[in-house]
């Protein structure tokens, strides 16, 4: 065998081994579980039920308490989520939840709100509905720098994507229209 043939055979062998390794790593550790649900659908995962009940774009005069009105803050997108424990022994405070809104096009960087459990809420408000459930109000603040070219009417007609991530690698996307 000459040198050229040895190099070719070695290169083909490396390519085959690499292709197998890529396939293996993706089958074993990749492939996130992602589900898309419509608005108001009750989504059950990890012993909890999640339901996005409302999604509204608020103008400055309608801003809820706790949100300071500034010239920079143009609008607030409020998402109301109902979270219920399916297991009587399990508290809602044990639920793993992280929510982020995204507006594609002009900007998709809205403020992040992490909601890990009842005690540690980095944004928004929660209200106890019954023994097993709470209602979370999560506001996404839209600043002038992010939505400078958009009028409120245009912002209302935008398509928003809300992603709820429950555990690593698993997330639920709610395909919804902004009301």
């Amino acid at each position: 065998m000459n040198r050229k043939r040895v190099v070719t055979v070695a290169a083909v062998a490396v390519c085959i081994a690499a292709a197998f390794a890529v396939w293996n790593v993706n089958v074993k550790y990749g492939v996130p579980k992602k589900e898309i649900h419509p608005m108001e659908a009750a989504v059950r995962a990890n012993g909890y039920e999640y339901q996005v009940r409302e999604c509204r774009l608020l103008e400055p005069e309608d801003f809820p308490e706790g949100i300071e009105k500034t010239d920079e803050l143009k609008a607030v997108l409020v998402v109301k989520i109902y979270l219920r424990s399916l297991d009587g022994n399990k508290s809602v405070s044990g639920a793993n939840l992280m929510v982020q809104g995204g507006m594609w096009g002009n900007s998709m960087d809205l403020e992040l709100f992490y909601v890990f459990n009842e005690e540690v809420i980095s944004g928004g408000w929660n209200k106890k509905i019954d023994e097993n459930g709470i209602e979370l109000w999560i506001p996404f603040r839209m600043y002038a720098v992010q939505v400078a070219d958009f009028s409120l009417e245009e912002m209302k007609s935008e398509q928003y994507e809300l992603v709820i991530s429950l555990t690593p690698f698993r997330s639920i996307t709610l395909d919804m229209e902004n009301d």
């Binding site: 690499a18 993706n26 550790y29 990749g30 996130p32 992280m98 998709m108 960087d109 992603v163 991530s165």
Partner: protein
Amino acid sequence: MKRLLKIEMERAFHGSLFVLAVLIGMGIFAAHIYQIVLPDAVFIRNIDWNDEVFLKVYAGMQLPNLYTDYMEIFGGSFSILYHFILPVLTGLPYAYTLFTDAKYHYMDQLILRGGQKEYYRAKLFVQFLTGGCVAVLPMILSFAVTAVLLPATRPELISPTCIIYGASVLGELFYRHPLVYVIMLWFIDFAGFGIISCLSYVFCELMENRFMVVLVPFVLYFCQYVVCSAFGITSVREGLRIAALRQDKVHEVVPYVIGMLVLVCVSHCMKIRKRDLL
């Protein structure tokens, strides 16, 4: 033209300097893989999906994956270093031939056989091709190595762990079709560093030794970066790190690209019309 191209391609791609340039690039990528990708690969292999503490700590967080750990997208000091020295690497395999051809009159032989226009066309084309290949080959190889170690999970904006975000150039494309984004990144880098390496072609006649011809793109690139930094303007160096470039800065980079293209075109036209060459 075909014969000339074949000769020049052989000089550029079959030389040990081409291998050296690619190896230096690969070395930087290898350092990134050793420092960032390998520990992440070990981490995801050791995850216990039944460990409640782990699930709580990492709830909602994106785990390391091919796209977020790939050096060009991850950012970090190695990415900065790579982009910093690339203009030297891109000129290393071939740029010096522009000088030596003229000095040792090898150019006369080639022009007599192939024609002046064809000679310069071949030179410019091969210089562009060499620059692009030296820049992009290590990127492709390192992407392949990262793909072997980490899963190609789609990156989530919900938990960004890289330098790309909403306002980044092609940020939306990255979060929707990451592979297409990476391929586009290679094309842009190929074209960008190909053009930068052509600056050697532009200034080769003004230089007095071969090393200066190789270093011309780097000197211009570095000086431009220093001047732009002083005035707070986006430089070519920052403009070619597409992953870290913001959409509102693109208009600051476009004039540089147009300027370099004009410079190369004007210089090429002048070279092919030169009368006292032989």
